[in-house]
Symmetry: C2
Subunit: 455 residues, 2 copies
């Protein structure tokens, strides 16, 4: 018989890993709640009419598509079949797919439930998404996204709040030094406006989005290949080289974008966001204006964010931005919003690597009752139910195996206490309790036993 | 533009529904933890080699299959294509599917991680599964299962614990009167053994499994159609008609199954399970031996359970049983186990219908700070961060809209308090706090404000 295997790019998690991951999700969740975000749930399976053409050509290829049920080929054209015309056939034999992110489903949700939600709609969603990407280190085909979005308000107060959320969550998680990079898409649009290459804006964004991978030289080369003149490239380089404190950067930028109304709007928005934050020192994060930040996804229209670790080589661990028209694709306009996403999988990898996850018990069980069989077993079973009634997480070993084996079970499962009550003790209503870490042992009556285990 | 829609049989959930559902999941989860079960996670996507032929022919049809990526037709035979030979083509163009339950993935998990888990392995798993069933009231294509299983021990102590788990969880959930039906597959095997129809055991089980739908007469008719003699049908009827208390039922059963070693083993096991429970009164559930209980799924080999509501017409709200060979299909034998599953979707439907869900706030937000714009807005934003630093769930309205609109936002979102601090109050460091339910209003300094909102 073939050994069972996981599907490619998929993962199982052991209890200890689940507890460690829950620790991360719980901090993110409770912080989202603290800022007034509410949870929603959307299905894993969405119609492909919702998902297709939302993530670019590359994204469409990465959608997991669900085969239609029944005689799925009945409508397929014979010629397409014999020619193995994949694209024509795929559209006939699949109508559903697995969600690729939580943002497009959110847009659908807002449009469909517009009468049942409170606007501005602050929602969070922590759940799995799927991408048929080539698996590699740190990249999985099934992974969690942890998103908070606020939809239906143009207020930049929410953009400022996003920065505080990054700082609050990552500080609680004990993530090492991190930088919150901030930019505004209108500044990028402004440089294009000021230097008259608005028609090549997309090429420009695609090029600078590769900054992390190919460096400034690479970006410049790519821009040259796309036909950008030396003067334009020089202007773009100036934008990248703006330095100093955040307010110094903004002052320099103002001179660079003097002639761009769009650019000036972007500067004004950034100033407003920073002004909101001026009275509130961050816990740990450093805000850094970075005018080369682009965020590839093209639905962002204003503020954009990206959080990176200062001294650890890894892509962004959180990101987000403001968008004007998320729901326009589903026929609803005037729904500006801003949202952020924590890369929980990457955060887990960093914390695990740097040994920054808190020590977790392998289980929540507080005590194991040793099983001596016979009548003692029955008394032990009753005792177990008394502990359960007091909400003490507890177990009775299922058989009268050798004591050593029973103790081993407790050790392996990280259970700190064992109760070894033989016939005599049961008759006398005393319970010998042993701490298997310290070796400390004491005999307690039921009341003290319960008090001790509850503490 | 076409209106966006949900895929067939799929559901969205509003924040209030998510909170209500979390209330149910949390009680199930914390109770599982109390009994020593540990959480695991398995992927949504499994290889079809794992899922196929595990749920019978009908189940195979209900698997959601994921289309292979890329040129998925390249290996498909031309003749199969032109003949639209679905079964041959499907096996070539799909290799992955969505999990149909949490049990088969558990079996795979135990086999693959045998060296990393503690045996007996008490695991729970609360997550979604998918079935391409025809959607109807109370039946969804995507739904939660809440499973706890204990693998690697033949001890009937765990079977007794399953009964306590049903009782504990359903009692905490305030589910109305319920009956925990218990049987043992060996008793059904025993009646077949005693009356010499072991070769027709499957027909027998399939027939009595329909009891709820077609009643005793229907079952008898079906057995007749399957060629059961009158004498055998009479014996089966006697089994169904056994009455009295549970111990009286067992006594009657002993005479009926006098000549069946398997049947006697079943009786012995049931007695043992009941004996464990004899010292522990249930909170609310009533244990009822029901020898007509069959549980269709054929991996059960011993104790079987089914929980039904006493006075509410609905299928079972929880179920489970003991199995000897769950992992045998993946090449690992000697792994007996017992497991239960709560039908959280049905439990939600009952509690909602009977108005038994606790009153939930529409959000966890405690206070809304009214936004007066300008400098007041900046002070309000600082105040908001002070509240966040104290872990008080709070919001600042994002713009200086009319006060009425801002109050409406608080009301709609179920936020009990608002702070209305104008310029004067801010200068004097006092914060007017209003309870928008009672109308009560008071002016507090920061310290008292925080204390009040934390209480």
């Amino acid at each position: 018989m073939a050994k069972p295997t996981l599907a490619r790019g998929m993962r199982d998690f052991l209890p200890k890993q689940v507890y460690e991951r829950q620790y991360i999700f719980n901090i993110i969740r409770t912080t989202f709640e603290k800022y007034g975000f509410q949870p929603i749930e959307t299905p894993v399976i969405e119609n492909l009419s919702i998902l297709s053409e939302k993530y670019g050509e590359e994204g469409d290829k990465l959608l997991f598509k669900v085969l239609n049920s029944g005689e799925y080929l009945s409508d397929v054209n014979e010629n397409d079949l014999s020619a193995k015309n994949h694209s024509a056939i795929t559209s006939k034999i699949t109508e559903k797919g697995l969600r690729y992110d939580l943002t497009v489903p959110l847009a659908r949700y807002v449009v469909m439930h517009r009468n049942d939600i409170v606007i501005p709609f602050k929602r969070y969603h922590i759940d799995k998404v799927w991408r048929a990407d080539r698996p590699q280190k740190g990249r999985y085909r099934e992974f969690y996204q942890c998103d908070a979005d606020c939809i239906g308000s143009p207020s930049l107060l929410y953009d400022a709040e996003c920065i505080l959320l990054f700082d609050d969550v990552l500080n609680q998680l004990n993530v090492p030094d991190f930088i919150i990079k901030v930019n505004n898409r209108k500044i990028l649009a402004g440089i294009a406006e000021a230097w008259d290459f608005t028609d090549q804006f997309k090429d420009f964004v695609i090029a600078i989005d590769k900054w992390d991978k190919i460096g400034e030289d690479g970006v410049i080369r790519e821009l040259g290949n796309k036909g950008f003149s030396e003067a334009k490239i020089h202007a773009i380089q100036q934008l990248f080289r703006v330095s100093g404190s955040n307010s110094e950067k903004l002052e320099t930028l103002k001179t660079l974008l003097l002639n761009s109304p769009t650019g000036n709007k972007g500067i004004e928005e950034l100033e407003k966001v920073l002004d909101y934050l001026s009275g509130t020192p961050l816990n740990k994060g450093i805000i850094e204006l970075d005018f080369s930040l682009a965020r590839g996804l093209d639905y962002y229209t204003s503020t954009i964010f990206e959080v990176v670790l200062k001294n650890y080589a890894m892509g962004s661990i959180a990101s987000g931005g403001r968008y004007d028209e998320l729901t326009a694709g589903f026929g609803m306009s005037d729904m500006p919003g801003v949202g952020i996403s924590f890369g929980a999988e990457r955060i887990y990898d960093v914390l695990a690597d740097l040994n920054l996850l808190p020590e977790m018990a392998a289980s929540s069980v507080k005590v194991l009752i040793i099983n001596f069989g016979g009548e003692e077993e029955k008394s032990a079973f009753s005792l177990l139910q008394k502990l359960h009634a007091e909400n003490i997480s507890s177990e009775l070993y299922p058989s009268d195996s050798k004591i050593g084996k029973q103790f081993q079970y407790a050790e392996k499962k990280g259970i700190p206490y064992v109760i070894t009550a033989g016939a005599d003790e049961i008759r006398e209503h005393v319970y010998p309790l042993k701490n298997i870490i310290s070796g400390e042992q004491e005999k307690l009556n039921l009341e003290s036993l319960i008090a001790k285990l509850k503490s």
